[in-house]
Structures are given as C-alpha cells and as structure tokens.
Symmetry: C2
Subunit: 297 residues, 2 copies
C-alpha cells in the first residue's frame, strides 16, 4: 500500500475512535463539549497515534486493540496545543487553519477544555475493560511512561523552558533540551507504548526508543523550518511566530540549509535503528520517518 493511503486509513481509524471516546454530549456542559470536539476532531495529522499503532504491529501486536492508548496520546497532544495557544503562553490566534480555542470559546473555556482533555486521556487509557485484551502490568507501564513524557520531566518541562527563554540568547544544549522535551518526549512515548503493549523484547524496545528520539527531533526541526519557510495558508497557523517571539529554533543557530541536512541525517539514523527488524516488516515505519522530514505542512 502506498504510504499516503496507509496514513489516511489509520488517520480515519483514529478520528473515528476519538469521536467514540469523547463522552456523550448530555453528560457534561455543552460549552465545553463543543470546545473539546472543536480541537480534538479538527483534521490533525495523527502522527503520534499512527506511530503507536505501526510500532505495535511491527512487534507483533494486534494494533486495533491498542487504539484507546494511541488516542490517549493524541488527546494529550491536543490539550497541550490548546494551552500553548493561550495568551499567557504563546498567544497564537490560529491552529490547524482555524481560530484557536480561546479565540472561539474564551480563555476560561479553553483552559477547562485543556484540563478536561488531559484528564480524559488518562480516563481512556485506564479503562479496566482494556485488561481483557492486555496484560494489566503492560497497561500500567505504558500509561506511566506516557504520563512521565507529558509531565514535568517531559513536555511541560520543555514548554516551561521554551517560554522562559523567549527573546533571550540561547546555545544548542538549551535548544535541544526544549525540542527533546517539548515535542520529542511524547513522540518517544508514543513509540514505546506501542512496543510495550505489543509485548516487544527489550532489544526491540531499545531500538524503537532510539528511532522515536531521532524522529521526534527531526519532526521539531522541520517544524522550525516550516515556521520560516511555509505560508500561513499551507500551515494552518501563523508563520514567522518563532522569530517574532524570539524563540529558540534550529534555523536560528544553523540556518535553513544545515537545519534541513540535520533533520535528514536524523531520519537516516532512525531508519538504521530499525536494522534488527526484517526490512519488509519495518518499511512502513521507515517511510513514516522519511515522510515526517518531507512534509510541507
């Protein structure tokens, strides 16, 4: 199957599951229900959950059975976008081609929608019926590593330093801290959870973790590049924001050309880490790594 159709099919699967996993309208206040659906069912690329499913299949798991975990990761990602866009944070008015949550629903609802989504993610991933198809210990391990990745020592740590260093001078180690924590950690967790829930070997888990680290960093470098190169129309959010806000980015340190080369090198290395798998089985994951580097949005 062509990669594009593969990604579209998986994206559809995730979209449908997210729709089903959102609690019904009459069970909580309508404003926040609207706000949650607005951000959650809004044409995201679903890269993180697709990675989870693909890794799971690679290590021999029944990938359909782990859709709730894949969705949990996407729900966490969505909450982080809503909170990041708030005026006290990045103050972004657009997201995925539409007005950001607080522009439509107000700041209080956007804040609560984010809190609600973060909590919902853990509700989805700890559903006791998941024990029917999964080892409870593997479930706990996965949810725990996802919480770590999303938390103080992961995504939130990265976002904190990102906000704190705006407009300041920065060196590469700081930029790497931001990128590996703000974006990388959850991508690595998406990969690792897929492996653990598929009962992978330790060796497979180690290789896939390395793959996740490299893909995660490449993903963020490309994001930095797109913020400079792409247009608002293609990207669906304001561009040039990083530079306007004095944010730490790869192009600022290395320029566009070297940044792109670095991302490409990371993708090659990511592909190499999959050497212990049959090429025929690992090729989708390799193609996803390349796709991330070639995306124009």
């Amino acid at each position: 199957m062509e990669l594009e159709s593969f990604l579209n099919e998986r994206k559809k699967m995730i979209d449908q599951a997210l729709e089903k996993l959102t609690p019904p309208e009459n069970t909580f206040p309508p404003t926040i229900h609207k706000a949650i659906r607005y951000s959650l069912l809004n044409g995201g690329k679903r890269i993180r959950p697709i990675l989870t499913l693909t890794v799971n299949e690679l290590v021999g798991g029944n990938y359909k059975s782990i859709i709730p975990f894949a969705c949990g990761i996407e729900v966490i990602h969505t909450y982080s976008l809503i909170h990041d866009d708030l005026p006290v944070m990045d103050n972004s008015d657009f997201r995925r081609g539409k007005a950001s949550s607080h522009k439509v629903f107000g700041e209080a609802t956007a804040l609560l929608a984010g809190d609600g989504l973060l909590t919902l993610a853990f509700q989805i991933m700890t559903d006791p019926t998941l024990c029917q198809s999964h080892n409870p210990l593997s479930i706990l391990k996965s949810v725990n590593l996802i919480a770590q990745a999303a938390g103080l020592q992961g995504m939130i740590g990265g976002q904190t330093v990102d906000i704190e260093t705006q407009g300041k001078k920065f060196a590469l180690p700081l930029l790497e801290y931001i990128h590996t924590h703000k974006t990388g950690a959850l991508i690595v967790a998406a990969v690792r959870a897929g492996a653990i829930l598929g009962e992978s070997t330790e060796e497979e888990l180690d290789a896939l973790t390395e793959y996740g680290k490299k893909v995660g960093l490449a993903f963020q470098i490309i994001d930095d590049i797109l913020d400079v190169e792409s247009s608002e129309k293609i990207l669906g959010k304001e561009t040039g924001m990083d530079s306007a806000q004095g944010k730490a980015t790869y192009p600022q340190i290395f320029g566009l050309q070297e940044s792109r080369e670095r991302a490409e090198t990371l993708v090659e290395k990511a592909e190499q880490t999959l050497g212990l798998f049959d090429h025929s089985r690992a090729k989708t994951l390799k193609r996803i790594a390349r796709h991330i580097c070639e995306r124009i949005q």
Copy 2:
C-alpha cells in the same frame, strides 16, 4: 486516639509522601519546581487523602501501601486550586493564607504548574511497582474512577457550570450539580478508591459511596457558609468572594441557618450509611464526617 491527633498524624504522613513523590529539583526547570512545591506543600488539610486511607483501613486494607493513590488525589486537588485561582477563572489572590500561585510566579508558570501536577498525579498512581502490593486490575479501576471524577463529567464539569452561572439566577438543581461535581466527585472518588484498593465487598463499596456523597456535599455547604461567616485571617483566603462574584451558594438559597442544618443532616445520614460496619471500626470515619461539619476553617 483523639481525632485531632489522628488527623495530624495522617496529615504528616501525606505531607512527607508528597515531598518524596515530587520529582527531584534537578530533573525539571527550577521555576516550575518552586511553583509546584509552593502549592503542594502548603499546609493543606489533606481531607481527601485522609478519607482514602481511613476507608482503606476500615475495609481491611494495608493503608500505608495506598499512600501513593491518596497523594495522587491530593495532587489533583492542588492543581485544581491553582487553575481555579487564575484571573480567567475565579481570579483569587489568596489561597491557604498565602498569595496564590499566579500572584507569585506569574500566570504562565501557574498554568504550567497546574498542568504538571495533574499529569504528575497520574504518573504517581500508575507506577508499575505498585503492582507488587496491589492487584493491577484494582489499580486500574481506582485510577480510572479518579480520572472520571476529576474530568469532564466530574470536577471540570462542575467548575465550568460554576463559572458560567456567575451573576445569573440559579435554582437548587443547578447549585446541586455544581456542588456534587466541583467538590463532591473527587471526595467520592477518594472514598471509593480507598475501598477498591482495600478489596472491599460490593456492599461495603455502595455504603461508602453514599457516605462519600453526603460528606462531599456537606463539605461544600460548609465552605459556602464559611465564605460568608469567617474572616480572611482564619480562612486564609479572601471571604465574601462568592457573593461578590454572584456565585451559586447554599446560603443564598436557604440562608445561613438552614444551610447549616442541611449540612448537619447530611453528616447524620453519612454516619448512618456506615451501619454495616462495627461501630468501633467505623467510628473514625464517622468522626471525620462530623469534623468536616464543625470546622471553622
């Protein structure tokens, strides 16, 4: 043991555990580390975790082994206070006798500290090593019900309606929705988690759930009364805020006297729901219910 010494001893136990469960300083940015410790280790009464431990002991559990779950609930409670105090929400400048988080650290850090605590709570409660002392299915059930109680259909739903009805006319059903969701849900979850982790019978769980509902509502009615009656000095936060913000409260509908009577009736009923337990074993839980109603802060 006198109730006061019992509560102090348990509070100390919780405080020490919270200190230990906060990730070490050098593992995430110092600003947010300070903000988290500021709100988390700040003299809270620890009513929710104490309920969890006491219920667990009552149904025959080894209460010391469930301290991480009890702490997880307190961490969720703490995040909710930080976010509720933000200017876009209740805009409260004081909490527990000190300046609220955003007044000290700024809104961005307060927002991130809240997000970080909510995530940390789930990280703590899904620690895979907890399987050494607990049935993994009971762990998942407990974490799941806590997530539900803290989420859209629980605490966040209640907070949303609370914010939305400020300054508007309201009737008793709406007020009850706010109280049972905003405060009640997490208190019920604290009680239920203690029972489930102690492998209680269904009958015990049902009775304790009823106890939790009644104590939770009584707790919030008393909070409403204290906002009218108490002084800022005793309460450690601004008083008269409910009325100033046009909030839905019990005293507004029933007046102070009837509100207090209703809280007392709820406490009596809470005590009665514990009828299936030996009085000698259940008396601490009964006393806690009464204590909640008699507190002056």
